[in-house]
Structures are given as structure tokens and as C-alpha cells.
Symmetry: C2
Subunit: 548 residues, 2 copies
């Protein structure tokens, strides 16, 4: 939905580095304010209810269990890292508890910090990480890697059953740009480097990573790699797993370094075994990625299509036959309508927006001449597919507002509104069926529960063979909103798997998608991955219960 679009802090080169403090999102200087129009649309009762709920249990008042770490483990960690790098401080434990899914936020607001780590440790080097893993393996303590803490799939909430404690390994001291190879156009980045800071360091040298997920305000390089992140500009710059040239993984058994060459026929591509491993095989400490020259020019524009299917056909034409813009996304009719209903809205031609339909946002970045050439050719494809050019207004509105959506969730939750997202990906030939099945699952489940939802959807990433679908669900909160969402999510997961799609396009598996993931890959492939884990992490201390 449309949010304020006038802040310079929403530009990816001007955002501050934010250390997220639970339960609310982002930079405290950029508070989320609920637009009246949005509140009306979702049937929220106004700001007073919000103010009541906003308080919930304050983070400082949440009751934490006593940390249960074995004394020998703790003293070994202190000896390895120094006393100031090992803490069980209340606020540190809270801020490393779970991630930023709506259930995570609701749980913490309700005073439940049952997944809090016992200790938070701050390594300053790869060798520190190795040492932490050794110590935790010896003492059978579970280890959770932490970069930005923005997981929305329970990736930071390991299963502590049978373990002597849980240690959160906060990598944010590993925040260096190690090296730029300007000839090969690669950069080596430490895992704890925040995306915002990585971009800042690279821009200073004339480059860009081009990786802008919606979690950009908080997320870090290690998290991007461990979860196969995809950014909003992945059409042009590539998904994170596509731009990784090499990585270093610390495991309880030692170090694995992969990425000898850009491409090779030397056996399985081990990069693709460790990307997406979500801390279950060890902790990624360093990543070498491709970088590009920082763009000198950019244009973002909007196009209108009559309906989702014709818009989707247009995106498919671009993905299969080119050219590819830098950003390419299609909102369905509902998402488009909500967006346009905002009085601050699109700034497009009134006649065009009044017709409804579906909004396509197309962005181009690069050298001026190349941008204009690509824009012309892309425009020709879109027009031929039935698109109506809306000019740069809706494109710029989306671009400048794109990182503020997560800020909106907090005031919506305050106002008694449940809002959550989920996403999936499939082949083009199954896309329509997938969208219908997931929409029906969400709508039916929440309607039966007495809280009929608004289900919005967009395509955010396209490939020659298929596309992702990203759903946003908004409805009134029931008495137990965690259970309310859980039922809807289970129904959506079933619809996804029944349609043969993947359980996640870019949110990863974590703990929340584990069962569906196992169904997706099958018993034998799962056994193979467990064998890899058993080899690298014989004690099973690496993020137990996540992924595998």
C-alpha cells in the first residue's frame, strides 16, 4: 500500500545504518504513521485503539528466563572473545530474539520471549567464529548466526530441545569491505556488514551492489547469502545467489572456502550448496560478490494493464525475449486499487488511474544512453502487450517509498489490524493457478474465522521460465492473532505445495517453512543435506531446527 514518499531517507544511497530494536521496525527517526485512508480501507477503528495496543509489554518489561548456558562454555567464550564480547544483558537478549514476522512481533508484544538466546557473543574475526563454534560444539550449545535479525520465517529461533543453551553470534563487528578487484569487478565483504553500509562503502569507490530487499534498512551480507535474498532490483542486478562468486564458511569442523572461478565444471557448484544453508552448516563469515558501476542515470515509470493476466504476459515477454529493466513488478487489481486510493497517490494521469486495472512499475538504471535505449525497447514491448504508459509519477512514487512499507506494519498492528506477507514462485504455465489457489486459501480461512481479509498480490521477480508471487494480507485482528494467522498460513502453504510451487521465493525456510520444505525436496534429498550437516556439524549445534 502507498506510504509517504517525500523523505530523502527512503533513497537507497541515503538511508542510515539502523540497528533494529525489537519489536518495532527501523530507524526511530522514521516513525510509521498510519495513513487515514489505509486505516479506513482495512476497517481499523482509528488511532486510539492503536495507542492502547502499541504499548503491549514494553521490551524492558518482558520477563526472560534465566540464561542456562553451562559455566564452562561461558568462561571459554569469555576467554576467547573478551568479557565485553559476551553478554546476557536483558536488552541484548531481547534484540536477538526471533525476527520480524508479524507473529514474531505479536509474540514479543504479548511478553513472550521464549526464544531469547541465553548469550549474545560478538566475534571480531573469522577465527573468533571458528572458536565459538568449537566451544559450542564441545558444550552442546546451539548457535544462531545473526547479522541484521530480519528473518520473517523463524530463522533466528532454533529448537533448543536437548541443547545446553542457545548463543546468538552477532556478526556486526565483521563489517569490513575487505577488497575490491576492479578488473574482475568483485568485492569481498564481511558477513556482518549491513546492506546499507555495504552500499555506502561501494558507492565511495564508484560501485553498487544493487541489492535492495525490503529488509534493506536492517539486513546484512551474511543474511543475504544464508537465505538467498532477492532485492527489488534483482531483474537488473541479479538475486544475491546469482552475484556471489565465493564465500567462506566457518563450521565446527573448520573452514570451507568456495569459489575458485566464476563458473567451473569442477564438480557440484559448492557455492549453491552453502547459499541458502541458513546457518545449519555453519556461519558464513565472508562473501565475494560481483559489483557494478554505480548508475549515473535512472528512470522509474508506471504502466497500466487491464488485468493481471495481460500484465503478466507482458512481463513474461520481457523475461523471455528481453530487454530486462532493472526493476520490474506488477501489482494485481486489488493492490493497484489500494495504492491508488491513497490521496497522496500515484501522480499519474487521472483518466488512466481512474480506470483501475493493474500497475506495472518499471525501473532502468545505468549509463544514460543505455538506459534510454533499454527504456525505448522495453516500452515498445509493453505497449504492444496492451500497456498504457503512465509516465514517471507512479514509478518514482514507488521508488522513493519502497523501503517504508515495513514501517507501516507497526501502526497497523497498533490499530488492531493484522498484516502479513508471504511469497512463492513457480513456472509461468502454473502462475494463474497458483495465484488463485493461494488467494482462495487465505480468503476462505480468514473469512471462516470471521475476519474477511483483503488479499493483495504482486509479481516482484521474473525469470525466463517463471515468476514469484508476493501476497500481502490485511484483516482485522482476532482475539488470538497468532493463531489466526497460523491457520491462514497453513492453508496458503498447502495451496502452494498442491500447486507444485516452491514454499518460498526469497524469505527462506527457517523454522516456519520447514515441513513444507521437506515435502518440497523429498526424503532422499533431505537425507543428503542432513549428511552434509552431519559432516560439517557433527554435534548438530548449528541453528538446530532451522531448514533441516
Amino acid at each position: 500500500m502507498k506510504i509517504h514518499a517525500d523523505s530523502p531517507r527512503t533513497d537507497e544511497t541515503a538511508l542510515p545504518v539502523v540497528h533494529l530494536r525489537r519489536p518495532r521496525w527501523g530507524d526511530p527517526e522514521t516513525p510509521g504513521e498510519l495513513p487515514t485512508a489505509a486505516a479506513a480501507l482495512v476497517g481499523a477503528e482509528g488511532s486510539e485503539q492503536g495507542e492502547d495496543q502499541q504499548r503491549g509489554v514494553a521490551p524492558d518489561d518482558v520477563v526472560l528466563a534465566e540464561p542456562v548456558i553451562p559455566a564452562a562454555a561461558r568462561s571459554a567464550l569469555v576467554e576467547a572473545l573478551g568479557v565485553h564480547r559476551v553478554t546476557d544483558d536483558h536488552r541484548a537478549r531481547i534484540d536477538h530474539t526471533r525476527g520480524y514476522s508479524t507473529p514474531d512481533i505479536l509474540a514479543l508484544r504479548s511478553g513472550d520471549a521464549g526464544d531469547a538466546p541465553d548469550l549474545v557473543v560478538s566475534p571480531g574475526s573469522h577465527d573468533d567464529v571458528l572458536r565459538i563454534l568449537e566451544i559450542c560444539a564441545v558444550h552442546h550449545v546451539a548457535v544462531v548466526p545473526f547479522t541484521g535479525g530480519t528473518s520473517v520465517v523463524g530463522g533466528l529461533a532454533p529448537d533448543r530441545t536437548g541443547f545446553a543453551g542457545v548463543v546468538s553470534v552477532d556478526l556486526t563487528r565483521l563489517d569490513g569491505l575487505v577488497e575490491i578487484d576492479e578488473i574482475s569487478r568483485t568485492a569481498t565483504l564481511q558477513a556482518g556488514l549491513r546492506g546499507v553500509r555495504a552500499e555506502e562503502l561501494l558507492r565511495a569507490k564508484g560501485y553498487t551492489l544493487g541489492h535492495f530487499p525490503q529488509s534493506y534498512a536492517g539486513a546484512g551480507i551474511g543474511g543475504y547469502a544464508a537465505t538467498r535474498s532477492a532485492g527489488q532490483s534483482s531483474a537488473g542486478y541479479g538475486r544475491f545467489d546469482e552475484i556471489v562468486e565465493g564465500l567462506t564458511l566457518a563450521t565446527p569442523r573448520g573452514t570451507v572456502t568456495v569459489g575458485t572461478a566464476p563458473r567451473s565444471a569442477a564438480g557440484p557448484d559448492l557455492r549453491q550448496l552453502f547459499l541458502g544453508s541458513e546457518g545449519a552448516f555453519g556461519i558464513i563469515t565472508e562473501v565475494t560478490v560481483r559489483v557494478r558501476p554505480a548508475p549515473e542515470h535512472r528512470v522509474f515509470e508506471g504502466w497500466r494493464f487491464d488485468d493481471f493476466d495481460s500484465g503478466s504476459d507482458a512481463l513474461r515477454a520481457l523475461a523471455q525475449d528481453g530487454p530486462m529493466p532493472t526493476v520490474l513488478r506488477l501489482s494485481d487489481e486489488t493492490e493497484t486499487a489500494i495504492n491508488l486510493a491513497d490521496p497522496d497517490g500515484a501522480g499519474a494521469d487521472d483518466d488512466a488511474t481512474a480506470q483501475g486495472g493493474c500497475l506495472v512499475v518499471v525501473g532502468y538504471e545505468g549509463h544514460r544512453e543505455e538506459v534510454e535505449a533499454r527504456r525505448t525497447t522495453t516500452g515498445r514491448v509493453l505497449a504492444q502487450a496492451g500497456g498504457l504508459a503512465l509516465g514517471t509519477g507512479p514509478g518514482e512514487a514507488w521508488r522513493t517509498g519502497r523501503f517504508r512499507a515495513p514501517y507501516l506494519r507497526d501502526p497497523l498492528l497498533d490499530a488492531g489490524v493484522l498484516v502479513e506477507t508471504l511469497e512463492t514462485v513457480t513456472y509461468w504455465s502454473r502462475l494463474t493457478d497458483l495465484k488463485a489457489a493461494v488467494t482462495a486459501a487465505l480468503t476462505d480461512t480468514l473469512t471462516e474465522a470471521g475476519t474477511p481479509p483483503l488479499v493483495m498480490c504482486h509479481i516482484s521477480h521474473v525469470y525466463p521460465a517463471g515468476a514469484s508471487l508476493y501476497f500481502t494480507v490485511v484483516c482485522p485482528q482476532a482475539d488470538d492473532p497468532i493463531a489466526q494467522w497460523s491457520a491462514a498460513k497453513i492453508a496458503a502453504n498447502d495451496a502452494i505445495r498442491t500447486t507444485g510451487a516452491s514454499i518460498t521465493h526469497h524469505h527462506a525456510v527457517g523454522r516456519n517453512h520447514r515441513a513444507a520444505y521437506h515435502d518440497e525436496i523429498g526424503e532422499l534429498a533431505l537425507a543428503a543435506l542432513r549428511a552434509v550437516k552431519q559432516t560439517l556439524d557433527p554435534e548438530g549445534v548449528c541453528n538446530p531446527g532451522i531448514l533441516l
Copy 2:
């Protein structure tokens, strides 16, 4: 080096499906003839010596060991497949012995078929393959998958130590185009389908696979997948590992199917674990790949650069900033000179070719308008980088002759000339050092042995971050040419690893590169892959000694 370029059989849409019959390459109706100029250049003494050596030991006269397969295994295989699908026929065993490296050819010519399988079996379905694997696991018989048999790295010569026999699983009955999904632009192909036939089937529907390795005359889909094949048009159509959307793997423990969606954040990318697995985890029986519309137009042209480094810089500019042609390769000074020395030669402007330098071949395929646009922009980049346009002559000469190079090796070997190739890949910043190191290693070793070589090199594949180097070595044969080459190859491998490059760009690991591969990935990654093998193939019968 330049070979005859006038046969319609050299076009990828007009080649016959060839079942290679050892030891010579390819279609018997396209005999290799040694151009006089080539013979003179490499110091061969003429055709009479060739005729003597050509005879060697005729395949039918090679003495094979008695097949040692256990009777119970054999009868179980006969029961599963039918008596006509299980054979120890002399010629069948010979034709499934090793692959097409120069040492492989020389060994067979010398009468050594020590790596011959005991049995050749021909499954007609995925379930047949599963059954074969089960039977072989029970009886501890080693299993070699066979599609085209064109390995140049010993991928078809398992280590039989400790096994009760070796069975070659000839997949060529699995030769169907299972399905085309025209919306998603994917095709599902059985593993035994030859590349030539796959292209023929796809062209009939208006599509192309666009995958044309130099082994195209013989190789098959399963081999492409198992070895991460890269074709000559991979700049435009992608490496084989980049166009695979899904695959089915038969293992002794059952079936693994991967590829739920084009891209996903659901854990490690399992496709990339099984691509490049070279039969060590099981047998790939089916692959789903992306296809493209068959090109309506193509242009191949030549460009001249003063030297390898300036040509390499031009290729890097295209790989990093675009546009990418469909084919892009750069021959070094020596390879360019040999090519141009052919009196049938390039057909380019005489003044330009007389200047020496380095030849770049650039090919464009696609829609006419798009081809011309890409050609114009590419030409601008090449000219700006110092390239001199040579017109379509050298491009077309390369295009029409490109599949005939392997035919040339047989008459060269006949003529007492040793000819072999090797390849590697690294990042752009290390490319010059790598080329120098490998060239020196080959030159020094063979010169010290009294057989100074001609070492030619080209870049055949480029990526944003790096490029491949493909070396062709030609010298007089010593008394023991296998030992002669082995010494040179070991020195080259050492140079590759010392420079930090990958031991192979597209030839794979097989048995020949195994030690260097283990050095490349390290002990811990190797242990992880062995754990995968142990899970899927607990008896270790799948292509033992290959890769792992």
C-alpha cells in the same frame, strides 16, 4: 586450427546423429583429412607415417579380459531388462571403453582396453535404471553411466578395485523429448538423447537448445548435465548448468527429483549439487531445460586485435557492460597465425590478416532486428577497444568449421603428431598470469622432453568476473606419447592450481583431474560431498573413482 569449411554437415541443424565407434571420432562419412599446411606446421613427416600408425591395433583385434560379472548379477540384469539389453559383445565393450582424450585414443590404438566394462546394459526407462542400480549395489558391481561417451577426463573409466565387475549403463534408448512447456519455455528431455537429435526435435517445434559443445556430434543430454557442459554459443544461450530447470536422478537408494521453480530461497540449490556430479551420486535420467525460439537470423564476423591483452580487454568490456553476443571468442597470436596460415583461410581483408594479431569471432543469433541492433552496439565496443572489423568471412569460416576440429585429431595422430587440449577458468585479474603459467609449463615440459610444442590458446567463454582459457598443444609424438602427455598435463595442472584457477572450465573432473579437484575444493568440502555420496550410494558402486 583451420579445417575444411564447406560441408553442410558442419551446421548444427544438419549434422547426423552419430554413434561414435572407437577409436576414431565422429561420422564415418566425414573422414578427417590432414591439411598439408597443418602437417608442415607441426613438423609431421607426411602421410605415409600416418598410414602406418593409423592401423595400430584394430578394435576387433584388441584383446579383452574375460567379463568378470557375478552370474547372479548378470541373471538379475537379464531378468530386469531382457536378454537383448544385456551384452558382453566384444565391440560393445570396446565402444564403451574410456572416452575421447588423446591418451584414451592412444591407449586403445596400442591394444589396451583394460578399462573396458564387463557388461553393457541398455535400460528403456527410469525404473530400469533404478533396478540396475539396485542390482549392482547388491552385487557390488561398479556402474558407469554412458550417453555419448565423449569424456576427455577419464569419466568413463571407474576404479574397479574391490568391485565384482563394471557395468556400462548405455542410456541411448532414453532418447525422448518428453514435453515442451511453451508458456514457460522449457523442455523435458531424456538423458540418453543426443545433442544433435535434441536440437532436431526442438527445431521441429520452432525452438533451440542452443547448446553446441565441440563434442556435439556424439554427446548427449545426460552427459551435458553430469559434466556441466558449456557450448560454443554459451555466451548467448548459457552454459548447460545455467539452463537446467530441473532433473531426475536415479540412485541406489531411489529417485531424487529437483527443480520446483526457476529460482527459490528454499535451501541449497539442489540442481547445482547434482549437476557436475559425474555419475558419482547416481544416474541422471531426465533433464528439464530452458529453450529459446530457433533463431531466424544470424551473423558471424571476425575482428582483429593487436594482441591478446587488448582483445581480452574488449571481451571483458562486453562481459561486464554488455551487450553480449551469442558467440564470443578470442584466439591468441599463435592460434590466430595457425588459423590464417591455412591456404583455405579466413577470407578476410588481406591487409588486416597480414598484420597478424589476434582474431576475435563474434556471432549473433535471434530476431533480425535484435541481431542487427546488438551487432551495432557490440561493434562500437569492439572498435573503441581497438578492434578492426574483418567482416563476416572469418566468422562464417569458424562457424561452418567448428565441429570438424575433433576429426582432425585422428589424422594428426596417424601422422606422428601429438595433439591434445586442456582448459581452465579464472577471474579477469588473474587471466594473464594464468595464460603465461600454463603456456610455460607445457612448453618447458615438452621442450625438455625433446619435443618442443606449439601451444595455442583461446578464450572461449566469458563471464562478468572472469573467463576460460582453452589450450591446444601440438608437438611430435615421443616413443611413449601417453607418458609424454602425462608429464605435460601434470605440469599444466600444477600451474593452474598454483595460479588459483579452477582445474576445469567445461571438461569436468573425471578420474584425470581428481587429485587437482580435491586440492581445489579442500578436505572439508570433499568430506561433505562424500557424505552425500554415502547417503545416495551407500555401497559406493556409482562411477567409483570418478570425481570423489
